[in-house]
Point group: C2
Chain length 492, copies 2
């Protein structure tokens, strides 16, 4: 590349640049050189801009030299446009050569004339125009060897195998996440994830919930100390919170009435599965109710339905191009099944399990298929779990001590939320903890929270990455975590 030696220059050298029509800048700072220049967005380029001279900053998605011309595809996120440098009045032979040598993924500023095209450019998002480049500056140069190619990273599994086209395995994608996140699929997934959080909060705020911030460093492992990460804390040890539940409950006891929080949750489980992460984002809800814990279930399911309805269809379609899936179906109001009904369905399908056994992962999936067949929904609530399989703070069913006022929620047959009415009476909580052989000393602060008047309440925690994965019909939770953490992955 020409001009390489002059890169990383300072502002004071800049005036000379005004005359040039191509150059590598890679500059320290772009300050105030072009105060009046307006950069156009690729997605806004339409035939209405025809014959306008515009400035644009974009990545070089592809480049192909052909005689006295060089064709570039310029990309901004999921949008791209064809551009052309051709020897003539406005561009020299050297400029075409310069353009042809720009490495893929470099960022360029171009001054170009917008031209309407006769034949649609099928390979670009902007199909009706192309850019005739008059000046081109490299703002940031990409190294010539990319660790992965974007077109390989978005190729559906199996497609183009005969032609020897590559796909990229998941570890390579995650190792080079900063490039993998540039694909249309990744851009769509994480814009959608951002949407899930926004809809979750907006819906709950409208319902009168207050957002709270709970500590992640805690002094005692709440549920017996299994699966908890230890932190060195000055001269002592502390733990990373496995859930904000105890703090949400304290907020209820402190009269916040209805609260939610969005934040990291840590699980030191050595599980290397498609759906486990050691750190994930919890969307947590807790609320006081008036007369029945189903008020809590209704608030949560309505929130989920508002999320399903509010998500952008274009982003779902983009992801489906690479990862085809059945459209996600849900009912209004949400289907609620009791555990005993679910067991009956499983028994009928030939599964042998006892009344008070927990559901195994395969049985959850089978149940999901049975529910889909019978009720045509990918989202439902399973209510009244056996008391024996739930944590000590779960409220027993007052009408049947074998069961409890607790529930899980499922999407496409996989659990996305676990929740319950909580025991709000200090004495009863103590009795339940003793029954579970939990060291009372360790949960003293928790139990004490209920000694000064506590309203009946319940809640649940939703895994953000699972919701995104299952809604989109993806098959690995690492696809919906920007920088996933599992027992074997701590980077990037």
């Amino acid at each position: 590349l020409p001009d390489e030696s002059s890169s990383r220059r300072t502002c004071r050298d800049r005036p000379s640049r005004q005359k040039k029509s191509f150059e590598v800048i890679n500059c320290v700072c772009l300050c105030l050189c072009e105060p009046d220049r307006v950069l156009v967005r690729v997605q806004d380029l339409t035939p209405e801009n025809a014959d306008q001279l515009i400035w644009l900053r974009a990545r070089v998605h592809t480049s192909r030299a052909k005689g006295k011309q060089c064709f570039l595809v310029l990309r901004q996120q999921q949008f791209n446009v064809q551009a052309l440098v051709a020897v003539g009045d406005r561009a020299s032979k050297q400029m075409v050569k310069f353009a042809a040598n720009i490495t893929k993924e470099s960022i360029v500023d171009v001054e170009a004339l917008v031209r309407k095209v006769e034949q649609k450019i099928e390979s670009c998002s902007q199909q009706d125009v192309e850019l005739h480049i008059e000046r081109i500056f490299v703002i940031s140069q990409a190294e010539p060897r990319l660790p992965l190619q974007l077109e390989d990273a978005v190729r559906p599994d199996g497609e183009g195998e005969e032609e020897g086209r590559a796909t990229v395995n998941q570890d390579t994608k995650l190792d080079n996440r900063v490039i993998d996140l540039r694909t249309t699929t990744s851009q769509a997934i994480f814009r959608l994830q951002s949407g899930v959080c926004q809809l979750f909060r907006e819906t709950l705020t409208k319902k009168g919930f207050v957002e709270i911030q709970t500590p992640k460093i805690i002094s005692a492992a709440s549920e017996g100390g299994a699966n908890v990460f230890t932190v060195s804390y000055f001269k002592t040890s502390a733990y990373l919170a496995q859930s904000p539940q105890l703090y949400k409950q304290m907020c209820i006891c402190a009269d916040f009435d209805k609260v939610f929080c969005v934040g990291p949750v840590f699980r030191a489980e050595d599980s290397n599965t498609h759906r486990h992460l050691t750190e994930f984002v919890g969307l947590d809800i807790e609320m006081a109710f008036s007369y029945h814990y189903h008020e809590v279930i209704d608030s949560i399911t309505d929130t989920m339905v508002q999320i399903f309805k509010g998500l952008f269809q274009t982003e779902i379609q983009t992801v489906n191009k690479q990862y085809p899936s059945e459209p996600f179906k849900f009912l209004e109001p949400t289907l609620r099944l009791e555990y005993t009904e679910a067991l009956a369905m499983l028994h009928e399908a030939g599964v042998e399990m006892g009344d008070e056994d927990d559901l195994s992962t395969p049985n959850e999936k089978l149940l999901g298929r049975l529910v889909k067949e019978k009720y045509d929904t990918d989202f439902y609530v399973l209510d009244k779990y056996p008391l024996a399989v739930r944590p000590f703070y779960t409220m027993p069913d007052p009408n049947n001590p074998k069961y409890s006022n607790s529930y899980d929620m499922f999407m496409r047959g996989e659990e996305i939320l676990s929740g319950a009415q909580r025991v709000h009476d200090a004495q009863m909580l103590t009795d339940r903890a003793i029954h579970h052989q939990i060291d009372l000393e360790k949960i003293k602060a928790y139990i004490d929270s209920f000694r000064y008047g506590a309203p009946p309440h319940g809640g649940g925690g939703i895994g953000l990455e699972r919701v995104c994965m299952l809604y989109l019909g993806l098959h690995n939770v690492r696809q919906t975590s920007m920088f996933p953490r599992d027992p074997k992955r701590l980077t990037p």
Copy 2:
């Protein structure tokens, strides 16, 4: 209390309750006993409800027996109403005695007639009505001895000292946070905090920012390893992120263009001051800019101004009752001073410090007072810090290598944000890291993120608790953290 023995009963016992007019329930579950009963909110009680028979759930804020009557104040969050049980047609002597014995902070369901009062009840939020109780049930009984009294916890410092009235010290408040959070002051502070987060996100979403989720468990301590908490991670060690900055920057390199995140930030600093926490909530911003890093400053200051303008005045007034402060002042557009200008102001005020020295905390505060005097603002940006006092990834000022394209923002003379244009060129970043004697091996993944094309960008991180503290004119950051963490406090 009568009926204590019958507490913790199950639903099946319930029908008998229908006939009673007072009882302790403390029940396992309130399921479906009263499906059609509507609970009224205290804040909605006005003379328009006069002579209506209503149901209400609230805490017993105070209770005072007087002959054949018992006066209660019933409270929901910051709202309260006077209620009366009097011997007569509807209430027996036993019922008055029962009511008089209900412990403070217990939660009760009452059926009552709303009555308009002649003389305003100055001590309650609902001044024009009182409730004549006909039935009263204790839903959750508070222990008779409270670790602190709410009226003491909201008393302004020094008030009522002559009469021997107590205030509550901060550690007692924090140790009993579940009660302290019930005060009108705490309710207002944390509703306001929730508002700050909401305004932050809404403003940025409107500006085209995308919300991201960044990992808190990281493999390498980014800035040399000081002040970082260590986590046991299966068979290895990991660290808690001191900031989401590196991940925000990766998102910029991955074409998300403008991103924000809200989440916990961890600092293992053994600082026991009024403004340091070991865990706090970071409101983080990062964005690509077109030509000048002041585009970033403008986005951040505008966001702050939208927050200042959007916060609820009633909540501010509530906090001011206990903690009086000057109204918070700000300019539009926000004042931006250069470091050299600030130094000149300090020199003029008699401070001796060198051109490339960092500001000490006392000098920051003094500068805040000087700026307030001269410009009448409590919020301003200090731009162009000496390069020597900023981290290695800070972009030098291209026009003067002694300075940098970096900035802090201040509220009432205390720092709430630190930010900068970042070096986006891998080679320059390597040179700067070597200059700072940072082990390149440890930051390889970070530097590599910039090898495949990176746009010029900048950002900053705001401390949520500090913003709330300083906006409200409070003097300790523990007041604006629900469950604060410092070197000496890990509970509750």
